[in-house]
Symmetry: C2
Subunit: 229 residues, 2 copies
Amino acid sequence: MAHAYEFARPALTVDIVVFALDEEDLQVMLIERDLKPFEGQWALPGGFVRVDETLEEAARRELEEETGLKDIYLEQLYTFGDIKRDPRERVVTVTYYALVNLEGHDVQASTDARNAAWFSMNDLPKLAFDHKTILRAAHERLRGKVRYQPIGFELLPEKFTLRQMQHLYEVILDRELDKRNFRKKVLGMEIVKETKEIEKDVAHRAARLYRFDKRRYDKLTKQGFNFEI
Amino acid sequence: MAHAYEFARPALTVDIVVFALDEEDLQVMLIERDLKPFEGQWALPGGFVRVDETLEEAARRELEEETGLKDIYLEQLYTFGDIKRDPRERVVTVTYYALVNLEGHDVQASTDARNAAWFSMNDLPKLAFDHKTILRAAHERLRGKVRYQPIGFELLPEKFTLRQMQHLYEVILDRELDKRNFRKKVLGMEIVKETKEIEKDVAHRAARLYRFDKRRYDKLTKQGFNFEI
DNA sequence: CATAATAGTGTCGATAGGACACTAAGTGAC
DNA sequence: GTCACTTAGTGTCCTATCGACACTATTATG
C-alpha cells in the first residue's frame, strides 16, 4: 500500500436491494430518479459515501432518506467497480441487500427521488446504471443464503403461519415444496415456537401462528446444529 | 444517487489474501511494509485503485508488483470500510482472496515491499491495519466455499494424489476425514480423472495421480449435479 | 528377504429426504 | 342448519446417502 495517493480517486457509493414478500411474489424497492443521469428512470436506492460514516451507515442513511425505511436487516453483497458503470465519472459502488416485512414498515419517497415503490421481481422496469446486474446478484445471494441461514424470517411478520413460511421458500427458491415434508422439517428443527393465536379474517379454517425462536436457534447453533431447508 | 459530489472522498484500495498449501498447513502470503504507517510490519499485499482500472485489475496488478504472482484464481471477498482502519485518512478497501499451487508459482518481493513470504495460518505475525480481521474473513469464506465449489483444486498441482486432495480438505476444514469414505465420494462424483502416472521419489508404494476434469464438471453441473465434500 | 510405509478396497447399519392422500375444521351461501 | 368450499393438519414407506470400521497389496530400503 503506497504512502501517498496523488492520483484521481474513484467516487464511492452504496446501493441497496431491498426485498419484501407479498402474497404473490418477491418484491424489490425502486426509486424513480429525480436527477441526471437516467433522470426519470427507476433505480436502486443509494448514494455517495461520506468520509465520516461507515459503509453500512451510508447504506442505512440513504435508505431512510430515499424510502423512509429504517431498522431493517442489512447485509453487504458485493462491490461493483466496472470503469464505465456510471457515465459521469468513475464510480465504485458497495452494494447491500435488505429484507423487510411489508406489514412492519411504511414507505415514502423523499430526497433525490420522485417516487419510491415496490416492484415484483417478475415484472421489473428498465433500470438505471448496472442495477439490473446488481439485482440479479442480490437475488442469487438470497436464494443461496436463505437455505442455510434463518434470514427468511426477516421477510415474514412476527407471527406467521407455516403456510406463509412455505410460500416464502417456494417463491425464493422458485419451486414447489411438499407441505407435509416442509412441516416435518421445520417443526423437527424446533426453531419456530407455536403461539396461542390463529389467523384472523380468513374465509376458511384458520391456521396456527408461529414465531421464530431466535433464543433457541442461537442455543442449538452453539451445539453444532445447522439450519437447512 | 446525488448528481454532484462535493464532499471529501474516501480513498479506495484493494487487499489480497493469497492462500497456498504445503505438506503441513494452509499458508498465506504476506509482505513486509517498506513505508509508513506500520513500516516494517507484515501486511496483506494491496494498494490504491487507479481511476482507469477495475477492482480486479487493481488486485492483480498490485499482487504482481508486490509478490510476482500472476494468472491465479482470484475472487472478491468483502469490502471493509471502518472509519479508523487506516490511521492516515479514510480508506475503504475491497478485499480479494486468491488460491495458488506452490509448485506452479515463484514468489519475489518488489515495489513497496521489503520482502514477501509465506506464513502458516497457524503461526501468524502481528499484522498491520485490520488485516487480521480480513484474513479471518477470508479463511471463513474459503472454509465455507470449498465444500460446495471445486475451488480446492486451485491449491493442488495439476496432477495430484487422492491423499493430497484429502489432506487439502482436512487442513481447510480442520478435521480428519475417513480415507475410504473420502475416496468413495470423490471417485463417485466422477469429476477427477485418473492419469496413467504415479507419484515419483517416494519411499513407499507410489500413489496414482489424478487431475480435475473441468470439462466433465461443467457438463454435470449443467445437468443439475451439485459438488459437495 | 524382512521390515516399514503408504495405497487401495467393501459392508453394514442408521438416518434423512422424498413421494404420496386423506380427514378435520371453519366460512359462507342458501 | 346443512351443504359446499377452502385450507389446516397429519404418517408411512422406500430409497439414497453417510459414517463407522480393518484388512490386503505394493513398493522402497536396509
